[in-house]
Structure formats: C-alpha cells, structure tokens
Subunit: 227 residues, 2 copies
C-alpha cells in the first residue's frame, strides 16, 4: 500500500508555536521533505528540529522549488518534486513535507499536493500558526475585534490593492517596493505597525508608519488597523 | 509585584492543534480564566483539559461575558471581568485566559486585555490555530495560493459584504440567515465549501453550495474560492 503525503505547518519561527499534532506527525514518520536544495538549510527544518531533535536522524528529501516567475518552468519543477515524493510513497513510506507558517496559506506545498492527489495518492494537511497571528501576538494587539473584517494581501498584490475595505489589512512579505507601499498605507488612514522577521533572532518591531524604513527585509509583515 | 495576564488561544477544537507554548503556559500557571458562568462548561476548557489534564486541579476563574448587543451593558460586563482578573494579578499571581481559536482573531479576550493593559498591568498573547486554517486543512484544500488575497468576514457582516474582491472569502459563524448568505455566495461565482463544528464530534462537511442546508448550526465556517 502506498504511503500518505502530509503537509505540516511548523509556524512562523518560534518552535514553541508548533502544534502537538505537527510534532507528533514529524516524530512518527521517517521521511521529511522540505523545499530547497538542502533540507537542513531551510527555515522550516531549523524551526522543527528545535522541537523534534530526532528530526536530525531522519531521511531528508530536498524538493527543488526555486522562485521563478515563468509559469511553465514552475509547473515543470512541481512535477519533478511530486515525482520524487511519489517514488517514496510507492515504497509504502509516508512523506512529511514541512512548511513555514500554516500549510493552507501561501504554501509551496499546495502545488505538490494538487499533483500528488491527482495522481491518486492520499494527502493530509496539518495546521500551523500563520505569520500574521504570531505578528499580532508579538505586537500585543488584536488582529480583529467584534465585527471587523480581515484582509490578507500577498506581496505582489500589495500595490494593486486599494486598501479601501473596512477592517484590518495584513500585507505579507512587503519588503520589496516599500516606499510605494508606505504611500498606499498613508492614504488608507489606518493605524500601521510592522514586524520584520517575526519569531527570528533578528526580529524587529515598528510601531508606526513613520518608523518603517524604505529598505525593510523580505519577511516584513504589516498590520494596518482601523483607527 | 503584580502578575501577568496571558491570553492563550487553544485552537478550534482538536486538542492536538494546541501549540507547545499554549500547553506550557497553561501548565505553568495556577489560575485559569475563561468566559462563562462555569469554566468547566466552556468549549475552550474542554479542549485544553484534554491536552493538559492537570488543568482540572487548577483554580478556575469564570468571567461573565454574555452575548449582549447593548454596547453600554457590554462595557459594564467587560469592566467587571477585568476587575475580577486584576484582583488576582494584585495577589502576584498570573492569570491565563483561554480562548477558542487564536487569541488575536475575534476573541472576547481583546476587550479584557485593553482594560487590564490600560490599568497598568502586563499582558501577553499566545497564538492558537484559527478556525479557518483548521477548516481548510479538514477540507484538504489550500486557503490561498500564489498571489490570492484572503478576506475573513465575521457573522454579522456576512450579508453586508459584497464578496466582490478577488481571492478567497471566509465567512465565520454563518449559521444565522443562511438562505440569504447562500444567495450572496451564488452571486459571487466562487466555489463554496462549508465545515460545521470543525474539530468537534459532530463535525460535518459540505462540498458544494447546493449541499448546504438553510438551517446550518452557529459554528458554520464557509470557504469560497476563486474557480
């Protein structure tokens, strides 16, 4: 019988933000996959190994998923990655693919899952803490209260979105083109805060729009709330 | 020295979806608060006690926070609840307030935190898995991929929102006025799925708009995705 492919979210950085289920699923299985040329160099591995030290002894399966903009090349890489995973599943072994944050939100796992599922294998998802929840907790503020809406906008959409909906906006990975993003935020009239590298050793908190530098890092998460 | 008030998310239902940090913070502290007349009867307690059995031996602090629509009465209840908590903090003990899902998303804790913080006490937040992440994992689908936006709309806003933004919509607690909500969803042209009582013994999954009954329960979470 073929193995099962698990997509496991390890949360945004602090290993203590991993769920009991994520820890158990990693512990109980022998083959751990992650996106990259070297699993040990991935952020997801570095988080998970702190909570599950025996991960260091497991069989590691690196899945090459470089960030390319060409859709056809992306698809080719995803097919190759899916094939690598299916080779292991065919041996009757489960594969646990670890992914940053939650496994259902902007995860590279989704592409692999779709292919592997379509090829007739069983797949399952294990939730992780999304970065925006951890960032709000770090800022010690609610993301949404009472009847407020929540809008999460990924990096490349930041500048197209108008930020004119009611409620809270989360801008993910807003490091690039920050000057333009700051202009949009100023126009929104919302209260802006930012966390750079949330849960990492070099984490940095910005309490207002004025404090945010134009050259912030890639893993910058902005929370813009109604006043 | 006064104690610290923690707001701890226990996730949406499955005790295995609690984080290592939530488990530790509950375990390390003696006074556990929850909203309701009887802490043992709250959903948050019933989840947490399965992962931390020693919770049953701890001092339990029920905070009365009835669902009332009158803003003044709400505020009065929140002040009373904050006072109860501050009385314990003044004894130098920490208070751990447990809350369903994540502690920054539509949590009753936010009201208490604001008051207790303004009164000069230290407060901290511990993240939990939001219900919409667990629901997507249960449906075995991504919430958002690539450059999709995510829009979370709480119950009472469901019928005012137009659902005309690109990306994925999550409608929380959409049980009431489901017939009207279904009409809106049909007009949106998105692919609709629903999970009722996610992670609970009576959990139920609906794979399409047509399957969703007009009389679904209060804890119904709808995910509407772009086709």
């Amino acid at each position: 019988m073929a193995g099962i492919l698990f997509g496991v979210g390890v949360g945004p950085g602090d290993p203590e933000l991993m769920t009991l289920k994520a820890v158990r699923v990693i512990r109980e299985n022998d083959v751990i996959a992650a996106p990259g040329d070297d699993v040990r160099e991935t952020v997801a591995y570095k988080i998970a190994v702190q909570a599950v030290p025996e991960l260091a002894e497991k069989e590691l399966l690196p899945i090459r998923m470089p960030m390319v903009m060409d859709k056809e090349e992306q698809k080719k890489n995803h097919r190759l990655g899916a094939k690598q995973i299916e080779n292991v599943l065919d041996q009757g072994k489960n594969v646990v693919f670890i992914t940053l944050g939650d496994s259902t939100i902007y995860s590279t796992f989704s592409y692999l899952q779709e292919i592997v599922e379509a090829d007739g294998y069983e797949t399952r998802l294990v939730s992780g803490i999304p970065s925006f929840c951890a960032a709000a907790a770090k800022l010690n503020i609610p993301l949404t209260e009472w009847q407020e809406q929540l809008h999460v906008i990924p990096a490349r959409q930041n500048l197209k979105a108008k930020l004119d909906q009611p409620g809270t906006y989360v801008l993910m990975k807003s490091g690039s083109r920050m000057a333009q993003t700051k202009k949009l935020l100023a126009e929104s009239g919302k209260k802006v805060r930012m966390v750079e590298n949330c849960g990492m050793p070099d984490e940095k908190i910005y309490g207002s729009l004025d404090e945010i530098p134009d050259n912030a890092g890639y893993f910058s998460l902005i929370i813009a709330k109604e006043l």
